[in-house]
């Protein structure tokens, strides 16, 4: 198979978590002999070529970071410029976010079915996975560990052309965490995570407390 892969993140490629996920996913596709063309919605200079590629390709994969329970505004702006197809083209999605629970991504996932229909295409499923916020801040080894799981999903997509398998459903992980895990993670939020965020802020040159209120 050959797929057009659109990175729907508005973040520039260099800092895009979605980009790192796609690197791993594409490696899995390549192992199975699939080919792909990647483009980035964050680069407006690519939009003309992307529109053309959307018209020409029958297998399209859009990878999306969740922005306020849906797709980012910049991706909407690009998609608004497309002409609906109605030629049997299939669109599959990778939806990723920061919160760890699967339930956090379901509202966004529901929209992707509507979106596919509006674009005159067939829905080929969504690979849903959270807990990806830290990719940007982690060391290379940890990033490899987190994103590495996407390689297997790339193999799956190359073979099936969709994300409808049980394997893909399980990839999401827990919909919500059980009570004892929430209690433990809640403690981590107040301790380790807080100090981790403060360290990341310091590394970025932040000079104010993270709870600073500039307008009040």
């Amino acid at each position: 198979m050959h797929a057009l892969i659109i990175n729907g993140s508005p973040r520039v490629k260099k800092f895009s978590n979605t980009d790192k996920i796609l690197d791993k996913f594409e490696a899995g596709m390549a192992e199975k002999g699939a080919t792909f063309t990647r483009c980035e919605v964050s680069d407006r200079k690519q939009w003309d070529d992307m529109r053309k590629a959307f018209g020409e390709n029958k297998n399209i994969l859009i990878a999306i970071p969740l922005y306020v329970e849906n797709i980012p505004g910049l991706l909407i702006e690009f998609l608004e410029t497309l002409t609906p197809k109605n030629d049997g083209t299939e669109i599959a999605f990778i939806l990723q976010g920061g919160f760890a629970e699967g339930v956090q991504l379901r509202c966004g996932e529901a929209y992707l079915k509507i979106l596919t229909e509006k674009l005159g295409c067939k829905y080929a499923g969504t690979l849903v996975k959270g807990d990806n916020f830290g990719i940007r801040f982690m060391d290379e080894k940890t990033v490899q560990k987190i994103t590495g799981a996407y390689t297997d999903m790339g193999r799956e997509y190359a073979e099936c052309g969709n994300f409808f398998s049980e394997k893909c459903a399980k990839f999401t992980g827990p919909e919500i965490f059980p009570v004892h895990v929430r209690l433990l993670v809640g403690i981590i939020f107040k301790t380790l995570a807080k100090s981790g965020f403060k360290k990341a802020a310091k590394d970025w040159g932040c000079t104010k407390p993270l709870n600073y209120r500039p307008y009040k």
């Binding site: 849906n70 932040c206 709870n211 209120r213």
Partner: protein, 168 residues
Amino acid sequence: MILIVNTTADKSVSEALREELKNSAVEAEIVEASEMKISHCIGCNYCWLKTPGECSIKDDYEVILKKMIHAKQLWVISDTALGFLDHKGKNIFDRILPVAMMYLKFVGDQMRHVARYKDKFDIGLIYKGDPDVDYLKRWNERATLNFESKSLGVFSASEIKEAVSCMH
């Protein structure tokens, strides 16, 4: 104060709102955002980790953000595309991020960001066009959870009276 942000170029919706609000004691401010320069969110996370509470994009959105944190309600008037808000409407929401902090907590059984400000604003939508209304309602309910507020409802531009009845 109620903040109404009109992201459409159609000022007749704003006019209809003004007319309806004339007879109420509600203090409302309408911002015509279609004439403002408002970028999309670029996901830089500076508002959480480098310049807490401040967006790194220096455009007209800052005016809206400053008003928003003093409002009891936020209403967004938006055109629609592909069954949802169009990009101008969605950008208003994507850029809200500075009102939340990087810190996390559990609310019920789900993770949430901790709010930056004590006062919260509930959110209503007024749309033009032909969106998937059931989805839009679901989305607004879900989105407001993240701002520790609640949905005031989703109304078409022909339901101004109904929308105003929720403004108080």
